[in-house]
C-alpha cells in the first residue's frame, strides 16, 4: 500500500480537518464530531435542513456538497463504515432552523439503521425529521424481501434537486414528496478496472487481471455481475447503456440528465472519452440530453473505473433545480 497518510486510524479526522481548513468560507466542523456543516453567512436561514452522510472514502461525497443550495450537513463515518447516530443527531440539530430536517440516506443496512436511530433521538426532541433512502445501483436485483439496491453516485442528483428546492423555501412535506418522485427516476451502473485499498486493510478489496474489467461493481468493491476482457470505451458505454435502457426503455422525446462519475483513479481524459461515447449512443436512441456532468463526484478511494447515472427528467422543475446556483466545494459549474 502506498498512500499519503500518517496513522491509518487518523485518516478520517485528518481529512475532515484538512477539508474545513481549506474551505472555511463554505464549511466548518461541529466540535467533537466528524460532521461537516455550512459556514456561510446564510447558514441559519430558516429553510428545511438537508443532512446526508455515510462511510468515508467516497470524497468529495458528501461533505463536498455542503453549502448554500445543497446540503446543510454531511456526517463522515470511518472508511466504508456508516457514521454513528450521535454524530448524525448532532448534524440534525445543527441543521434544524425551525422547518425540520430531511435525511438523504444511501441504501446500506448500516446507514439505514444508524440514520433511523438518529431520527428516533430527534423525535424525542420534537425535531420534525423525514427521510429518503436512495437505491440507484441497478447492478443488483430489486426486491422488497432483501436489502434491495445500493445507493451510489445518483445520490448527488438528489442532494442537488432537494437542495435547490429547500433553498427556495419548500417545506418538509414538499421536500419529502419531491424526493419520492425523483429517486425512482435515477439509475446508475458502474464498471471497475481495479479494486480500492482501504487504508486499515492495506491491500485491494478485489483484484482484476491487467486485461480484465468487471461490470456492476459497487462503490465499496461489492462484486459486479460479469467480468470481461478489457474493451473499448465505446463497448463499455454500450454495455452500461443497454443495462440502463432495460430499466428506462429509451424512446424519442424522453429527457435525461447524464452523470459520468470517476471512481477515484481514472483520469478525467478517460471520463470525457467515455461521456463522448455515451452521448453518441444516446443520440442513436433519439432521447434528448438536457444536462451533463463529468468528474469525480462519488469515488471509491483509489478504484479505477467509472459509473454512469441517468436521470429521466419527467418534470421541467427538476432540470431547473439541477441548474440552480450553489456554493459548495465540489458541485462545480
Amino acid at each position: 500500500m502506498k498512500k499519503i497518510i500518517n496513522n491509518v486510524d487518523d485518516v478520517v479526522a485528518e481529512m475532515v480537518d484538512g477539508m474545513v481548513r481549506s474551505y472555511p468560507q463554505i464549511v466548518k466542523k461541529l466540535p467533537d464530531t466528524e460532521a461537516i456543516v455550512r459556514n456561510d453567512a446564510d447558514r441559519d436561514k430558516s429553510i428545511v435542513g438537508l443532512v446526508s452522510g455515510g462511510g468515508s472514502g467516497h470524497e468529495p461525497t458528501h461533505a463536498g456538497y455542503v453549502g448554500q443550495g445543497m446540503l446543510s450537513a454531511a456526517v463522515a463515518g470511518q472508511v466504508f463504515t456508516s457514521p454513528t447516530p450521535d454524530q448524525i443527531y448532532a448534524a440534525i440539530k445543527d441543521a434544524n432552523h425551525g422547518k425540520g430536517v430531511f435525511l438523504i440516506i444511501k441504501n446500506y443496512s448500516g446507514d439505514v439503521m444508524n440514520f433511523d436511530m438518529a431520527k428516533d433521538i430527534a423525535d424525542m426532541d420534537d425535531i420534525p425529521v423525514k427521510s429518503i433512502v436512495v437505491d440507484d445501483d441497478i447492478a443488483v436485483e430489486n426486491s422488497t424481501y432483501t436489502q434491495g439496491r445500493r445507493g451510489v453516485a445518483g445520490t448527488i442528483f438528489v442532494h442537488k434537486i432537494l437542495g435547490a428546492a429547500a433553498d427556495q423555501g419548500a417545506d418538509l412535506d414538499q421536500i419529502d414528496s419531491l424526493a419520492h418522485q425523483i429517486v425512482p427516476n435515477i439509475k446508475t451502473i458502474g464498471v471497475a478496472l481495479s479494486g480500492a485499498t482501504v487504508p486499515a486493510v492495506g491491500k485491494p478489496g478485489f483484484t482484476l487481471a491487467d486485461d480484465e474489467i468487471e461490470y456492476g461493481v459497487g462503490i465499496h468493491g461489492e462484486p459486479g455481475y460479469r467480468k470481461e476482457k478489457l474493451q473499448s470505451s465505446k463497448d463499455m458505454a454500450h454495455e452500461l447503456l443497454e443495462k440502463l435502457g432495460s430499466e428506462f426503455h429509451f424512446e424519442a422525446g424522453q429527457h435525461y440528465a447524464v452523470l459520468v462519475n470517476g471512481m477515484g483513479a481514472t483520469p478525467l481524459m478517460e471520463q470525457y472519452i467515455f461521456m463522448n461515447d455515451v452521448l453518441n449512443e444516446l443520440d442513436k436512441d433519439g432521447v434528448s440530453v438536457d444536462y451533463t456532468k463529468v468528474g469525480n463526484f462519488m469515488t471509491s478511494l483509489d478504484m479505477a473505473g467509472v459509473s454512469l447515472t441517468l436521470m429521466k427528467l419527467d418534470d421541467a422543475h427538476w432540470l431547473q433545480n439541477l441548474q440552480y446556483p450553489v456554493k459548495t466545494i465540489a458541485w462545480g459549474a
Binding site: S82, Y108, S109, M117, A200, G205, H220, E222
Partner: protein
C-alpha cells in the same frame, strides 16, 4: 440471576473474545461482506469497557445502558445499531425488575424483539438474528450450552443472505458463516464462561 458484577464480567469476557478474534471476524466478513466486522466491533467493545470501568454502576440496567451508549457512539456500520439496540433493550427490560431477580432469558427475549425491529431481518435471513432467535428459544428450556451456541452459529452457513451486505451476493453467500452470528456466538459463549449468571 444477573448482578452488576457478573454482568460486567460477562461483557469483559465478550470484549476479550472480540479483541482476540478481531482478525478472524474480519476474515469471516471478507468473502460475504466488507471485511470490517471485527474492527468495527473491537472499536466498540474497547470503548465499552473504558466507559464501564469509569462509570458509577448502581444497577444491572446501568451496566447495559452504559454499554449500549458506548457501542452506539463508537461502532457505526451495521453492528453498532444492532448490538446497541440489543443492549439498550436489556437495559429497559432489567430496569423495573427487583435487583435480586433479574433472569437472563427475558432480557435476551427483549433484545431479540429490538433486533427484529431495527434491522427488519427475519430468522433465516443469515444475520445475527438467527443466533439470537435460537439462543432465546434454548434459554427458555434451561441453561444455555456451548453446543447449542455452536449449532446456532453453524446454522447460518447453508443460508442465503437476505439482509445486509451479504445479500448482494445472493446464492454466492451460501456456504459461509455470517460474521455477525459468529460475534454473537462469542457473546453467548461469554455468558456461559462467566459461569454464575444462569
Amino acid at each position: 440471576m444477573l448482578t452488576v458484577a457478573n454482568t460486567t464480567k460477562w461483557l469483559q469476557l465478550f470484549t476479550d473474545q472480540v479483541n482476540t478474534n478481531q482478525d478472524a471476524l474480519n476474515q469471516y466478513d471478507t468473502p460475504i461482506g466488507d471485511g470490517d466486522h471485527g474492527s468495527n466491533l473491537a472499536r466498540g467493545t474497547t470503548a465499552m469497557m473504558d466507559s464501564l470501568n469509569k462509570a458509577d454502576l448502581k444497577s444491572v440496567s446501568d451496566v447495559w445502558k452504559t454499554a449500549a451508549m458506548a457501542i452506539i457512539s463508537k461502532v457505526g456500520g451495521a453492528a453498532g445499531p444492532l448490538y446497541g439496540t440489543a443492549f439498550l433493550e436489556m437495559a429497559k427490560a432489567s430496569k423495573d425488575r427487583p435487583a435480586d431477580d433479574i433472569a437472563v432469558q427475558p432480557l435476551i427475549d427483549a433484545s431479540l424483539k429490538g433486533l427484529l425491529k431495527r434491522g427488519g431481518a427475519v430468522p433465516g435471513d443469515k444475520t445475527m438474528v438467527d443466533v439470537w432467535t435460537d439462543v432465546d428459544a434454548d434459554l427458555e428450556k434451561g441453561p444455555l450450552t456451548s453446543d447449542q451456541v455452536k449449532t446456532a452459529v453453524e446454522s447460518t452457513k447453508p443460508m442465503e443472505a437476505k439482509k445486509g451486505r451479504a445479500s448482494y451476493l445472493g446464492k454466492d453467500s451460501v456456504g459461509h458463516l455470517d460474521p455477525g452470528s459468529v460475534s454473537s456466538g462469542f457473546f453467548f459463549e461469554s455468558l456461559i464462561q462467566e459461569g454464575e449468571i444462569q
